[in-house]
C-alpha cells in the first residue's frame, strides 16, 4: 500500500510507456539519431572556425566583441535543439499517426490522447537532449583544448535553456503535423524552418537588417532561442531572456493544446 501511495500519479507515468516503446524501436535505429548529432558540429567547424577565421571578432548586442566561433556556437545549439524537436514531431509523428496507425492501438488501452501527446513531446525532448548534450560535450572538449566557446559560468544554464527551446518547437511542430495531409506538406514546414535557421541572428547579428526587419526577426521563435542561449554562454543576460523563456514555453503549451484538440478529432470520431 505504501509503495502504491508513493508511486507518481498516472498522468506522469503513462506518457513514459510510449517513451519506452520508442526507445525499443530506436535501439535498432540508432544511426538516425547519430546523424542528427553531427549536423550542428559540422556547422560549428565550417562556420565557427572556418569562416570565423576570416571574420575575426563580432560585436554582441551590449557592444562587447567576441570571436566569431563564440558568437555562432550558442546559435547552433539553439538550432540543434529546434531540429531535434522538429525531426521527431514532423515526419516520425506523422508516420505513426497516419500510416502505422500506432495511436489507434494505443488509445484502445487505458492510455489517453493527452498521454500520447505528452509521451511524444517527452520523447522529442529526450532526443533533443541527446543532441544538446553531444554538442555541449564537444564544446567542453574544445574548451579544455584552449578553444573556449562558453565565456561565462552562466553557460551551465545552456542545457536547460536548450530544453526550453526544444519544448517550444516540439509543441509547435507536433501541432503543425496534425494538420498535414500528405508527405509533400512537410516542404511547407521546411520553408519556415530553413529561413529561421539562416536568418535568426544565427550566423550574423541582426543589426545587419533595417529596423523594421529587425523587429520582425525578433518576433520569431528561433531568434528568441538563440538570444536566450547566447546571453547565457557569453554572460550577457538582459531582461529579454525572461521574454524568451515565456515565449517558448507558451508556444509549446499552445502547441500541446492544439495537438489535444486535433488528435481528438482525428482519432476519436
Amino acid at each position: 500500500m505504501l509503495a502504491l501511495r508513493l508511486s507518481p500519479p498516472l498522468a506522469l507515468t503513462r506518457p513514459t510507456r510510449l517513451v519506452a516503446r520508442n526507445l525499443l524501436v530506436y535501439r535498432r535505429g540508432w544511426m538516425v539519431v547519430v546523424s542528427g548529432f553531427f549536423e550542428p558540429l559540422f556547422y560549428l567547424f565550417s562556420m565557427g572556425f572556418g569562416v570565423g577565421s576570416l571574420i575575426g571578432a563580432v560585436a554582441l548586442e551590449n557592444g562587447s566583441t567576441v570571436p566569431y566561433a563564440v558568437f555562432v556556437a550558442p546559435a547552433l545549439l539553439a538550432s540543434s535543439a529546434m531540429n531535434g524537436a522538429i525531426y521527431e514531431t514532423s515526419n516520425n509523428f506523422f508516420y505513426k499517426l497516419k500510416y502505422a496507425k500506432l495511436y489507434d492501438a494505443v488509445i484502445a488501452t487505458p492510455m489517453s490522447l493527452s498521454d500520447v501527446a505528452r509521451g511524444e513531446i517527452l520523447w522529442a525532448l529526450m532526443r533533443g537532449a541527446l543532441y544538446v548534450i553531444g554538442f555541449l560535450a564537444v564544446v567542453g572538449v574544445l574548451g579544455l583544448g584552449g578553444l573556449g566557446l562558453i565565456s561565462s559560468p552562466l553557460g551551465i544554464l545552456a542545457f536547460p535553456a536548450a530544453m526550453v527551446v526544444g519544448f517550444g518547437f516540439a509543441g509547435a511542430g507536433m501541432a503543425a503535423t496534425t494538420f498535414v495531409r500528405k508527405w509533400q506538406d512537410f516542404d511547407i514546414m521546411q520553408l519556415a524552418i530553413m529561413p529561421m535557421f539562416l536568418f535568426s541572428g544565427t550566423f550574423y547579428p541582426i543589426s545587419a537588417y533595417p529596423p523594421a526587419l529587425q523587429i520582425f526577426v525578433q518576433c520569431t521563435p528561433l531568434y528568441r532561442g538563440v538570444h536566450l542561449i547566447r546571453a547565457l554562454t557569453t554572460g550577457t543576460p538582459d531582461v529579454w531572456i525572461a521574454v524568451d523563456v515565456l515565449y517558448l514555453i507558451t508556444m509549446g503549451l499552445i502547441g500541446l493544446w492544439i495537438v489535444g484538440k486535433r488528435l481528438n478529432k482525428l482519432l476519436l470520431s
Partner: protein, 324 residues
C-alpha cells in the same frame, strides 16, 4: 422484435444507441444487451453500422444519442476504466510494425500498466496460446494474415480482459486460418470471457455466437440465437434450383418462364426467392418438394437441397444477400 433479456448484470447495455457522422446516421437507435460469458454477434453487410457500434463500446468513439454502458460504466466519463478491462481486435491489424512479435505484446502490456516482468510472463503464455512462440523475435511485417490476426488476439488478451471485442476477426483469412482462430475463440469462451463480434459470414456467426442481432442500414432487424432466427424467419430446408437458358441468359430465368415456374411450384413451398442465377424454394422437406415439382413437369438443370442458414434469414429480412 424478440424480447430483450433482463438488463441487470449486462456486460454491455444499449438503448436507443445512435452514432452520427455529420448528416449520416451510422447507427440508428439500436437496443441490445450482452450477458456475462455470452458470445454475442452483429451480423450484417458492410456499412450496416457494426464497426461504429463496436467503436462506441470500445470507448473510442463518442455516443451521439441514446444510452450505453459497458461493465455498468459510462464510456464518455469512465472510458479509461472500461478500456482497462477490454480486449480489442480491430478490423485492420494495428500491430506495431517497428517492433518484434514479442515486443508488440510486451509494450502493449505496458500500455495497460503491467510491470515489465508480468507483461513478459503473459506475453510468453499468449504466444504459446496462439501458436506463435517460434516467431517471438521476428518482425511483424512478414507474418501471414492468419498469424497477424492471432497476434492481434494475443495482444488483446494481455490485460486478461473480461470482454473481448472482435471486429470481423476472420475477414480475408483462408479456411485453415479461420478454423484455428475459431478454435482459440471457442476456448476463450469456455474460460468465461465474454465475446462480442461482428461478421458478415453467416457460418462464423453460427459457429461462434450464442445470440446475435442482424443489422442492416444502421438498424437491428432481428435478434435471437442462430437456430431461433432460422426457425422464426425461414424453413428448415432450402431447395436450390438452377435453370439453363439458351437465349442469352446463362442460368437466369426469363420473365415469361418465371410465371410458369411459379405455377409449377405453387403450393409446394412456403416462400420462393428469385436470385439472378437460381431459385430458392423454402420448404420443410426439400427432397419431397423436389419430387413433387418434378412430377408437375419442372425440369431444372440442377437441384440442391440444403439446410437453411443465416444467409437465408438475412435474405428474408432485407431482400438482399449478405456477401455480394
Amino acid at each position: 422484435m424478440p424480447e430483450i433479456p433482463p438488463t441487470q448484470d449486462s456486460v454491455i447495455h444499449a438503448r436507443g444507441l445512435t452514432k452520427c457522422f455529420g448528416a449520416m446516421t451510422a447507427v440508428d437507435g439500436v437496443d441490445f444487451d450482452v450477458a456475462p460469458g455470452e458470445a454475442f454477434g452483429f451480423l450484417g453487410p458492410n456499412g450496416a453500422g457494426k464497426t461504429s457500434t463496436m467503436r462506441m463500446i470500445g470507448a473510442v468513439s463518442p455516443v451521439s444519442a441514446g444510452t450505453l454502458t459497458v461493465f455498468g460504466l459510462d464510456p464518455a466519463r469512465q472510458g479509461a476504466r472500461i478500456r482497462a478491462r477490454l480486449g480489442v481486435v480491430p478490423q485492420a491489424d494495428t500491430l506495431d510494425n517497428e517492433l518484434t512479435v514479442m515486443e508488440n505484446l510486451l509494450i502493449y502490456g505496458r500500455y495497460f500498466g503491467l510491470p515489465w516482468n508480468e507483461s513478459r510472463r503473459r506475453a510468453k503464455e499468449l504466444l504459446e496460446f496462439v501458436q506463435l512462440t517460434d516467431r517471438s523475435n521476428d518482425q511483424v511485417e512478414p507474418l501471414s494474415g492468419g498469424m497477424k490476426r492471432r497476434l492481434v488476439i494475443a495482444r488483446a488478451l494481455i490485460n486478461e480482459p473480461a470482454l473481448l471485442l472482435l471486429d470481423e476477426p476472420t475477414t480475408g483469412l483462408d479456411p485453415q486460418a479461420r478454423h484455428l482462430l475459431w478454435d482459440r475463440l471457442y476456448r476463450l469462451k469456455q474460460r468465461g470471457v465474454t465475446l462480442c463480434l461482428t461478421t458478415h459470414y453467416m457460418d462464423e456467426a453460427e459457429q461462434l455466437c450464442d445470440r446475435l442481432v442482424v443489422m442492416d442500414k444502421a438498424k437491428i432487424v432481428a435478434e435471437g440465437s442462430p437456430r431461433q432466427l432460422i426457425e422464426q424467419y425461414v424453413t428448415r430446408e432450402v431447395l436450390e434450383l438452377r435453370f439453363n437458358r439458351d437465349e442469352g441468359e446463362v442460368g437466369g430465368i426469363a420473365a415469361d418462364d418465371s410465371a410458369h415456374i411459379d405455377h409449377q411450384l405453387d403450393g409446394l413451398a412456403e416462400r420462393i426467392e428469385q436470385l439472378p442465377d437460381r431459385l430458392l424454394v423454402y420448404t420443410a422437406d426439400g427432397d419431397a418438394t423436389a419430387a413433387a415439382a418434378f412430377e408437375r413437369g419442372l425440369r431444372p438443370a440442377s437441384i440442391l437441397v440444403r439446410r437453411s442458414t443465416l444467409e437465408d434469414v438475412f435474405l428474408r429480412l432485407t431482400g438482399r444477400s449478405l456477401v455480394e
